[in-house]
């Protein structure tokens, strides 16, 4: 069956449950395609032989009651995997082999999935194009020399290129939704506290969330169901009643109130994105939902707030990389010299830049002016959402202000790179769930996404809206396999 890798997760699960396909056949198919796809540079670490072994073991004693029975899956290399190298895309963790497993990946293996490998990402998830990875940039399957977005760029490329049926990424300011939008795939950033952060290499702890990335909304819902659990090992994990997201999925969104925030109509946004947005509005209307014009007045302050809060938390989180307990160590004349050289040689330019911004805004004399100020503005941004959600059930916006750009195009201009996350960052600051779904193409033929933002813990609602819209949009990703000779 040569078309195995074209099947969605839901189809693969059904075929394995109906014994039409074995886990070994499915795993082999994805390994073969991954091996032919080295040009994409989606993988940092391959786990193929062990995956095949596990698939064979599964077939000998198949447990077909599991949610992901014998399904092979590659994951972002930010999740600690026991006895398998975990790099976070950084030289400083080049040889790091965790002795423990992240809760999110543990949940996935407990439901029968099999690890194919670890996927490329921006270094410590800091980037919007996957160009900051120590392991090189990733190609977007949509077109040659196009970035896949970031930081979950390897994950997005692997799903769009069908190297894995589904994957997980992490999203601190848009790192799931922006690459999903750039590659014509679906990506969900869950509510803060929905998925455990235990065992995920930390970037900005008050913003980081893991989430599913998939070819369609149903697959995304199924994976969310698996990864979202209450975990005492994460002090910010929240014990709330979680839905059976995939089972409760419905096209019926009649009467739902969908907000359209005027502040998301930004200067210089391409015409095509405005048109796509209008089309999206029409689709939800056709589904029987009601459109409400809303205002989120502090939207334009979200990015400046983020670029204080996230680096501040990062500078603190990344203090642990000192060349002593694990990771890369440079030679130094004394202890301090060793620290300084280790961090200077071990971290890439963007990570160093962010550690320095964070250190500065937290330093004596500047804390109130920057960090405290940002936390106050963060409150105003959250208040905007709280108020609006008294009137609407969800918010519809574009996912990104442009389609995917060329490798190298924005690399030397940090601020223009940061502007990529203008529509996604407010969601992280307010801790809300947001999903990006592919909604059309621009004139270059590159995919464009729309984002649906929901109330905290209301993943089911935005999944339903996405599901209903997906049916109307009937998006077809244009993948030509250009990278396979």
């Amino acid at each position: 069956m040569s078309d195995i890798t074209k099947q969605s997760l839901s189809e693969l699960v059904k075929n394995i449950k109906d014994k039409k396909l074995s886990s070994e056949e499915v795993t082999k198919a994805f390994i073969n395609r991954s091996e032919k796809s080295k040009k994409l540079n989606a993988y940092i670490t391959e786990n193929y032989s062990s995956a095949l072994q596990k698939a064979k073991e599964f077939d000998q004693k198949p447990n077909l009651d599991l949610k992901l029975p014998g399904i092979p899956m590659a994951v972002k290399d930010l999740f600690c995997t026991q006895n398998i190298r975990t790099t976070a895309g950084s030289k400083i963790l080049n040889n790091f082999v965790p002795s423990y497993e992240s809760t999110v990946t543990k949940n996935i293996w407990n439901e029968g999935a099999i690890l194919l490998g670890k996927l490329n990402c921006d270094e410590f998830a800091m980037g919007s194009s996957n160009e900051t990875s120590f392991f090189g940039n990733v190609q977007n399957p949509i077109d040659k020399d196009l970035v896949p977005g970031g930081s979950s760029g390897g994950s997005a490329s692997a799903v769009a290129g069908q190297l894995t049926p589904i994957t997980i990424g992490t999203d601190t300011g848009g790192s799931i939704r922006q690459p999903a939008s750039f590659t014509g795939t679906v990506g969900l950033k869950p509510t803060y506290g929905s998925c455990s952060r235990y065992g995920i290499v930390a970037f900005a702890s008050s913003l980081d969330q893991a989430g599913p990335m998939a070819q369609n909304v149903k697959d995304c819902a199924l994976l969310q169901e698996v990864i979202s659990t209450y975990d005492p090992k994460d002090s910010t994990s929240i014990d709330f009643k979680r839905n059976n997201y995939s089972k409760e999925l419905t096209y019926n969104i009649k009467g739902k109130k969908i907000g359209i925030p005027k502040e998301y109509r930004v200067d210089g946004m391409p015409h095509e994105i405005e048109e796509l947005w209008q089309k999206g509005i029409q689709y939800v209307k056709d589904c029987g939902a009601e459109i409400v014009d809303i205002s989120l007045p502090h939207t334009s302050y979200a990015l400046p707030t983020y670029y204080i809060v996230a680096p501040a938390e990062a500078s603190s989180n990344l203090a642990r990389y000192d060349g002593v307990k694990y990771g890369f160590r440079a030679k130094g004349e004394n202890l301090i010299d060793m620290y300084e050289k280790t961090r200077s040689e071990g971290f890439g330019a963007e990570v160093q830049r962010r550690i320095m911004i964070g250190t500065y805004v937290l330093s004596s004399g500047y804390y109130d002016a920057y960090y405290l100020k940002a936390q106050k503005v963060r409150k105003l941004i959250k208040n905007d959402f709280d108020e609006v959600f008294n009137k609407v059930d969800a918010i519809l916006t574009p996912s990104t202000p442009s389609s995917a750009f060329k490798i190298g195009e924005k690399k030397d201009d940090p601020v223009s790179m940061y502007l990529n996350d203008i529509f996604t960052v407010p969601v992280n600051l307010a801790g809300l769930p947001g999903i990006s779904i592919p909604a059309g193409h621009d004139t270059k033929g590159y995919p464009l996404g729309l984002q649906i933002i929901g109330k905290a813990f209301d993943e089911q609602n935005i999944l339903n809206i996405a599901y209903a819209m997906e049916e109307k949009i009937n998006f077809k990703n244009k993948i030509t396999d250009w990278w396979i000779k």
């Binding site: 008050s206 002090s235 694990y326 160590r329 202890l335 830049r353 550690i355 936390q375 105003l380 940090p414």
Partner: protein, 95 residues
């Protein structure tokens, strides 16, 4: 305000990242353009706003203080760049 080379040196020391002259110039440029962008926040009056530290509206849970991980010394030092049996090893600190 602008970030000069003296400030870069100071931040470099605080963050324990060595910075040579060439890198310092580039960093100063980058940081200045980023801070120019961040200054936008000064447009807002926030005197009476409570700072938001976490969106998770939960109080920290208490749990019994029990030892759950035993005999994991080997696992802990397994990834250290230089080890000497049971210890982390660092360059000489005391002369």
């Amino acid at each position: 305000m602008s970030i000069d080379l003296k400030t870069i040196k100071h931040i470099s020391k605080l963050s324990r990242i060595s910075v040579n002259e060439k890198k310092a110039d580039k960093l100063a440029d980058d940081l200045n353009s980023i801070f120019k962008f961040i200054e936008k926040l000064n447009e807002l009056k926030t005197d009476n706003v409570e700072p938001l530290t976490s969106v998770a509206e939960t109080t920290l849970k208490l749990r019994p203080d029990e030892v759950k991980s035993k005999d994991i010394r080997e696992q802990i030092i397994k990834n250290s760049p230089q080890d000497n049996e049971d210890y982390f090893v660092v360059p000489k600190v005391i002369e």
